[in-house]
């Protein structure tokens, strides 16, 4: 089904392309080499350096070049432009990413292979992460718990930060834009002999914006944040090096949750990572890794007559030592194995205990080419845990090269997400509605709440039509079981000491079985060295199995306004919230070397979706609900190099000035900006 918006999206897109590039397109000179594509390597898929194009798993890379030419500032902005990824904002304001229709809480976010923490409401806010010091972003789709353990159900996003290159280098970047938004970044890097070091600092601030003028608060309150990071690499000898890196992030934002309350939110986060690598010989290498991170958020609010109205905090800490080894007996096969330990604590408001998670784990993987045409990956991981059942996560992936042009790939894997601290230890009371939410372990025996888990199947093909034109397709299906949801407990089901007829008690249980399925198509056309066009599309069905049964049995009714209730049909079921059936993107990158100019125009489209049940149909979405119309966002950027070291940039994000003030709070309307970059 091609909707009106989609047509308008295509139309406006081609209008811009023809408008901007009508002359140039005609002089399409065939480019024989495709160096850039061959050189793309990815580490996240196997934890070894692998060529992206030969991988049996669905994966993609966003290169620094794309980040720079699109003048992107934060991680959520650039991810939203990638095929099959949708940024969704949770009710706490964090912006996460949906992969293959799986919620943002089921995607693991890594920086240089180690995880970020701080999901106070389930979503890890991607706008926390600046892209100023990123070398590339790697996205692996499908369950990846066989390598990474918890949270990797939908996939893994791994942010690879810059490494120092030879000599002394520096970079200054400043971008100013609508809403008094400033982004200032500076990086220095030095590499000589055995020592390589870099440092990066970024300040990002904005006055925020207000989509609904009639209320007393802004949609996004003013904020400012800093990111400081550094990386030191010391090469002891040819086979041994030590890499130490650190990152610090701090943000201050006004907080005005209602007309008579105001205050501020402070976020502080640090990460420390050390990795000692030693190569014994051609075959054996080992890594000793140590990682620690802390995420702290604090909100203080005052009302007119109470300066200490509320004071809430969230303080999560993770420490992880890991040892791993790689063994390459020959050119055809390699093994990797690791053993590690996660220690995690959380101290937060609404917890009466200070819980601790301890989880040792072990994993192993074989990656080999039994024949020239076949690549096989077999891996598994075992996570023991102090608070829930141990998890065994296997994965198998196979790639078969039919000929020079076509390769087939398929993979099956298991993914899981451990019940989080909130689901186990929450003791939250809501003053207005008179209900309380109690974590599972507060009420019942520990260890009985199961991790949410999924089995994902991916089947795809790469097709290289010519050296300039490539396609890939991937069909996916994810069966997600034991999803944890909060529910109202009947009083008699509560342990005696919690029985209280006067208050509704909510807790968590494993209940929903859902599935997501669909396909994704990507195409890349490199017309010549100057013009590159990429496009992608994802078709998605995401449904709750229980809901399907209920709709089929005619158990679901709806009412529109206060009209008579009517029975819903099977075909009326709209699927899970916040999922669009169609998402698409198209990007055109154009370079004019003689003017030192590069420019690009990018469009993303998402079709109609629903946020919540609006017609009393037991919480399920149906086609009579107030659904949110599909929309298109078009971004435009142009950069011109002056001399070799200076770049001036200009751009417009959301060219069509799209907003939906009632339903979408993370799209602010048209944004203009200018940029200056100095390299030395």
């Amino acid at each position: 089904m091609i909707t009106k918006q989609f047509l308008s999206f295509l139309f406006s897109f081609f209008f811009y392309i023809t408008f901007s590039y009508s002359q140039e397109v005609q002089v399409a000179v065939k480019d024989s080499t495709n160096v850039e594509q061959l050189n793309e390597v990815i580490v996240s898929a196997t934890r070894t350096i692998r060529q992206l194009s030969s991988l049996p798993l669905p994966a993609q890379i966003v290169a620094k070049k794309e980040i720079e030419s699109t003048n992107t500032l934060r991680l959520n902005d650039i991810l939203n432009e990638q095929t099959g990824l949708t940024t969704v904002s949770d009710f706490g304001g964090g912006e996460g990413i949906q992969i293959q229709g799986l919620d943002s809480q089921y995607t693991l976010i890594l920086v240089d292979g180690v995880p970020l923490v701080g999901r106070s409401a389930g979503t890890l806010d991607l706008s926390r992460i600046t892209v100023g010091n990123i070398k590339q972003i790697e996205i692996v789709k499908g369950p990846s718990s066989s390598l990474y353990g918890s949270e990797a159900l939908g996939g893994v996003v791994n942010i690879i930060t810059d490494t120092p290159k030879n000599g002394f280098k520096g970079n200054l970047n400043y971008r100013i834009g609508t809403f008094n938004t400033h982004d200032i970044g500076a990086s220095l890097s030095h590499k000589k002999d055995k020592l390589a070091i870099n440092a990066f600092i970024n300040r990002y601030s904005s006055d925020g914006y207000d989509l609904i003028k009639t209320d007393d608060f802004n949609t996004v309150e003013p904020f400012s944040n800093y990111t400081i990071s550094t990386k030191v690499n010391y090469q002891f000898n040819k086979g041994t090096n030590l890499l130490v890196s650190g990152r610090y992030y701090t943000q201050n934002q006004n907080s005005v949750p209602s007309s008579n309350l105001n205050g501020e939110t402070d976020t502080d986060e640090w990460n420390a990572h050390a990795k000692l690598r030693h190569r014994y010989n051609e075959k054996w290498s080992s890594y000793f890794e140590f990682y620690a991170t802390r995420y702290k958020a604090k909100e203080t609010l005052e009302s007119q007559n109470n300066p200490l109205f509320s004071d809430s905090f969230y303080n999560q800490f993770l420490i992880r030592p890991e040892i791993r080894a790689t063994y390459k007996p020959n050119k055809k096969s390699s093994f990797i194995g690791g053993i590690g330990y996660n220690h995690e604590t959380l101290d937060r408001t609404d917890f009466n205990v200070k819980p601790e998670f301890n989880s040792p784990y072990v994993y192993a993987q074989y990656d080999g080419n039994p024949t020239e045409k076949i690549n096989l990956i077999v891996g598994a991981r075992f996570d023991a845990h102090s608070e829930y059942k141990s998890q065994f996560s296997p994965k198998v992936a196979l790639r078969y090269e039919v000929n020079d042009k076509i390769a087939l790939k398929s993979s099956v894997g298991y993914g899981f997400k451990a019940p989080d601290f909130r689901q186990l230890y929450f003791e939250f009371s809501n003053p207005g509605q008179s209900y309380i939410v109690l974590g599972y372990n507060v009420l019942f025996e520990d260890g009985e709440l199961k991790p949410e888990n999924s089995i994902g199947i991916n089947i795809g093909a790469d097709y290289k039509a010519s050296s300039t034109l490539t396609f890939n397709i991937n069909i996916f299906r994810n069966n997600i079981n034991d999803l944890i949801e909060d529910y109202l407990i009947e009083n008699q089901d509560l342990p005696i000491q919690f029985q209280n007829n006067s208050i509704n008690t909510f807790s968590y249980r494993n209940v929903n079985n859902v599935y997501t399925q669909g396909f994704e198509i990507n195409g890349k056309l490199k017309v010549n060295n100057q013009l590159k066009i990429t496009g992608g599309y994802q078709y998605l069905i995401a449904r709750d199995k229980d809901a399907e049964t209920k709709f089929e049995n005619g158990e679901i009714f709806a009412r529109i306004g206060n009209s008579a209730d009517f029975q819903l049909k099977k075909s009326d079921y709209f699927g899970l919230a916040n999922r669009s059936k169609h998402i698409a993107n198209m990007k055109v990158f154009y370079t004019i070397p003689k003017w030192n100019l590069d420019t690009n125009i990018r469009g993303t489209y998402r079709s109609k979706y629903g946020l919540s049940d609006t017609n009393n149909s037991q919480g399920y979405l149906d086609k009579y609900d107030n659904l949110i119309d599909g929309y298109t966002i078009i971004d435009f950027a142009i950069n011109k190099k002056l001399h070799t070291n200076y770049t001036l940039g200009f751009g417009i994000d959301n060219l069509l000035d799209f907003t939906d003030t009632q339903n979408i709070n993370n799209i602010a309307g048209r944004l203009l900006y200018g940029k200056l970059n100095i390299k030395f």
């Binding site: 009710f91 109470n306 009371s429 809501n430 003053p431 207005g432 509605q433 008179s434 309380i436 909060d486 109202l488 009947e490 009083n491 008699q492 209280n500 007829n501 006067s502 208050i503 509704n504 909510f506 158990e555 679901i556 009714f557 709806a558 009412r559 306004g561 206060n562 008579a564 209730d565 009517f566 029975q567 919540s612 049940d613 609006t614 017609n615 009393n616 149909s617 037991q618 919480g619 107030n626």
Partner: protein, 207 residues
């Protein structure tokens, strides 16, 4: 013989005629009514400053279908509301603070059918309130993100009144003035709006 036949005929005629007379006693017509903003508030619950909870207390708002009005009578009520709790005048108290004693023969069940489709009462389904729960318990859905209570569509409460008559009820809204798209953060809650049909005739099991 003829006279006997005639007599018999006469008796039969009178019998039938009197039957007709019985039918002529018109049943009271049933009609649909809508109750707007029945206030079902309470005190207690959770203290905003301390986070401590105290038992919910306060009078249930009682309703009588026959009069079509709220009532403070301790006996002549059919259904009563406080917060999300709905009780009927039959069975035993569950022991809540300020919960009225049951004095009538009331009972209830929830039919999984739209209001208009509930034309007959199935007396085998009736349950009374008891110490372990209320006869009417799952009339709403709760959206934990929007914090919104919505009366489940396609559910009809079938009520046996305190004096053994029947009524059916469709709850429309839990928010003041029954807004079409309520907002739990803006609209005042604990205001019931509902449709009902009362069958005033003794022993009649249809609406």
């Amino acid at each position: 013989m003829k006279t006997i036949k005639l007599l018999l005929l006469a008796v039969l005629f009178i019998g039938f005629a009197s039957c007709d007379d019985d039918d002529d006693i018109q049943l009271i017509e049933v009609s649909s009514e809508t109750v707007v903003n029945l206030h079902a508030t309470y005190s207690g619950g959770i203290n905003q400053q301390t986070g401590m909870s105290t038992p919910i207390s306060g009078e249930f708002t009682k309703y009588n279908f026959a009069t079509g009005m709220t009532t403070t009578s301790t006996t002549e009520w059919d259904i009563a509301f406080r917060g999300l709790d709905i009780i009927i005048n039959g069975g035993t108290s569950s022991g809540l603070t300020d919960e009225p004693a049951r004095t009538g023969v009331g009972a209830a069940y929830i039919a999984s059918m739209p209001f208009a489709n509930v034309t007959d009462v199935d007396t085998s389904l009736f349950v009374e309130d008891s110490a372990t729960g209320f006869a009417i318990d799952s009339w709403y859905d709760y959206d934990p993100i929007a914090r919104l209570i919505s009366a489940t569509a396609g559910k009809t409460l079938v009520i046996k009144t305190n004096d053994g008559k029947y009524a059916k009820v469709r709850i429309i809204s839990y928010y003041k003035d029954a807004p079409a798209t309520p907002d739990a953060f803006m609209d005042e809650s604990r205001y019931y709006t509902f449709d009902f049909v009362y069958q005033p005739n003794d022993g009649v099991l249809t609406f």
